[in-house]
Amino acid sequence: MKNTVFLGTLTVAGLCAAAASAATLDDVKARGNLNCGVTTGLTGFAAPDANGVWEGFDVDVCRAVAAAIFGDKNAVQFVPTTGETRFTALSSGEIDLLARNTTWTMSRDTDLSFDFIGVNYYDGQGFMVPKNLGVTSAKDLDGATVCIQTGTTTELNLADYFRANNISYEPVPIQTNAEAQQQYLAGACDVYTTDASGLAATRATFEAPADHVLLPEIISKEPLGPLVRHGDNEWGDLTMWVLNALIAAEELGITSANIADMSAAPTNNPEVNRILGTEGELGAMIGLENDWAKNAIMAGGNYGEIFERNIGENTPIGLARGLNAQWTEGGLLYAPPFR
């Protein structure tokens, strides 16, 4: 009897879930804000400031989507998620968009029923060693002790890489990045390995950052991107094109400084006009006003500006564009045409 009730509730809940997830955009509009999942705190990518205002590279993606929908970059409810809760929060509908530096993998895209809407940061696993160790390549690390977070893909990547190169190492398992920093600085391990962006952020906090070097080898592909639930293609399209608009804006030279002028009257570049809504009806195709992209870009600037402000070379984190440069400059960013 109890079981039947329980299963019945589950079925009803499941049906409701299927019915409700059909039109995320309508739900978001009715609610008046976007529920965006972020990390509970990752340097440069998402963190609250002293006043509790979230900022960071991933946060700006959320803000751009909110601005595209509402014209208000603050119409976002940030939901801090952990590595364990992030996927359930998204699939249960607690959040509409997950921008939590999540690696795009096949199983997450298919088996977990999500859709990655693009890549906002191309990362890869790297190594950091103290300079006085005299190591210049990961291939020299034979017999080294390596600080590694357990239960992550980094652990598997490391094992694969060292086995492929036939070198031995001794892992020092650790739980969190904070613990890793302490262990590494205390000399419990020779090498610390995690995503290259994380290594750079970590090194920036050291008392003497110059005493540590990042090795040139990047041993894995970690395309980090925002994702949405599978099954609501309209919502997926909307978020994907907001991200594309930010990338295209940099390519076309639309910045937060000149966007007011450029959107005031049609320019002589038709694609810029189509993005900014002074020409064509692209906004209607994703169910938004025609100034959607203009609002999204005004929220935090184009992709390049967002990058520079949060993690770029002038911040303490100091990441170079590398793979994250425009395709015209040797990077991988390549937004499809707006037409």
Binding site: L10, G41, A89
Partner: protein, 438 residues
């Protein structure tokens, strides 16, 4: 006479008192104390020296770090600059500036700054409401006011319409009246009827009625969703709510487990054993992840409330076991005496058995509460930003990345104060009840 006597020299007795001498140095003052307490034997002496060395070692490392603490800086690198300028680069100095920079966040989380007065007022109301419960010297009639404080606190923290908590509180009045009316018929009818009517009232009448009244007479303050709660405020909200709710629930469960009624007894055993047999972190994941799948999306059942419910159930199971121990320790004669006086079950429990059982259980109950309060930090694993969760967020800002001990020391100190106060209260209560019992 006496003169001549005194001049007799006698080898066998002394005629005058010796002047009082100071006791030997080893038997007086600090040296005696040291000898008796620190160096009574060789072994103890060695242990004392080792212990003193250990204390000195710890203090000499922590002391300068603590005393050199820098309280006024905007970032960790600025802290390091100040230290280099004033103490030299090799000195160890804590950077407590992170606490002065972020203490509001550590205390209130993301609560809007313009509304900080609300949790502050709620905190003092909580203390005021607890006082009559905790200390017998305060007149009993204040207890009525204490019963109202949870609703006022809910209103202050969550905001919104004043009528929602008001009409929910009214449910207790409805329940009291029903119990009185039905009580004239039969106890069992009264119990079932009250639970049924109050349940129906809360489920279907209270909130629509509150909304209706609100549309006529809108009184309220800005509603603040509990996702804005954080820091110590979140710990205290979860901890206190769970403490206050789990005690009555735990007592009921303990009585149910000691009951002769087959169904009641087995249900209580099942509930207690299942809840107690699974780690709290699993229940928290259940609250945060599984319930989302069961509830239709869009209902958006407040995560903080879900956590409060789970923590309450968890601690109620422990309280039930502690109280059951107390019930078992009350001599059988007390139960029989109550029966022979013609008291019914509830009267005998209320007047004879429970007061004695609860008195015995005080240390265990407070122990459970202390554990519960500290366990609230586990919510960090489901993405709620309690003080420990905030340490990660604070570290994630480029200003404070790389700061550890200062935050943990501060948070540890705050938890210590709360838990130590609870422990002292428990000892006070034991002493007081001991005296009355003599």
């Amino acid at each position: 006479m006496s003169d001549t006597d005194s001049q007799v020299t006698n080898a066998y007795f002394r005629e005058t008192m010796l002047a009082q001498q100071t006791p030997p140095v080893t038997e007086t003052g600090a040296i005696k104390w040291l000898r008796e307490n620190l160096f009574p034997t060789w072994l103890n002496g060695i242990m004392t020296i080792v212990a003193l060395y250990a204390i000195w070692f710890i203090l000499s490392h922590i002391g300068p770090w603590f005393l050199n603490g820098i309280w006024d800086a905007q970032s960790l690198s600025e802290c390091r600059e100040i230290r280099d300028a004033t103490l030299g680069p090799d000195a160890s100095a804590a950077c407590f500036a992170v606490i002065s920079d972020r203490w509001q966040q550590l205390v209130f989380g993301f609560y809007p700054q313009s509304a900080y007065w609300r949790p502050t007022l709620a905190f003092f109301l909580m203390l005021a409401g607890l006082a009559p419960v905790l200390f017998g010297a305060i007149p009993r009639r204040w207890l009525t006011a204490s019963m109202l404080t949870p609703f006022v606190i809910y209103f202050l923290l969550w905001g919104g319409s004043v009528w929602v908590p008001a009409f929910i509180a009214l449910g207790f009045v409805v329940g009291g009246l029903t119990a009185r009316v039905l009580g004239r018929l039969n106890q069992m009818v009264a119990l079932i009827g009250t639970v049924l009517i109050v349940g129906l009232y809360w489920a279907f009448i209270a909130v629509p009625l509150a909304n209706a009244v609100h549309s006529i007479l809108p009184i309220g303050i800005m509603a603040i969703p509990s996702s804005e709660f954080g820091g110590f405020m979140l710990s205290v909200v979860i901890g206190m709510a769970a403490i206050i709710l789990s005690l009555p629930l735990g007592i009921v469960l303990a009585l149910a487990r000691a009951s002769d009624l087959f169904l009641v007894n087995k249900l209580a055993i099942g509930f207690i054993e299942i809840i107690r047999g699974v780690p709290l972190i699993v229940w928290l994941f259940t609250a945060s992840l599984l319930l989302n799948y069961f509830l239709p999306p869009g209902t958006n059942f407040d995560l903080t409330l879900r956590v409060i419910i789970m923590v309450t159930l968890f601690s109620a199971a422990y309280i039930a076991e502690v109280v059951r121990g107390g019930l078992a320790a009350v001599p059988k004669g007390q139960y029989e005496g109550a029966d022979s006086l013609g008291l019914d079950y509830w009267q005998s429990m209320r007047l004879i058995v429970l007061p004695q059982a609860l008195k015995i259980s005080i240390p265990g109950i407070v122990n459970t509460f202390i554990g519960l309060f500290k366990d609230t930090t586990l919510v960090v694993f489901i993405g709620l930003l309690d003080p420990l969760g905030l340490t990660n967020s604070i570290r994630a800002s480029t200003d404070w990345n790389g700061i550890y001990w200062e935050l943990y020391v501060f948070i540890g100190l705050m938890f210590f104060i709360a838990c130590y106060a609870m422990g002292r209260y428990s000892m006070y209560l034991e002493r007081k009840l001991q005296r009355e019992n003599r």
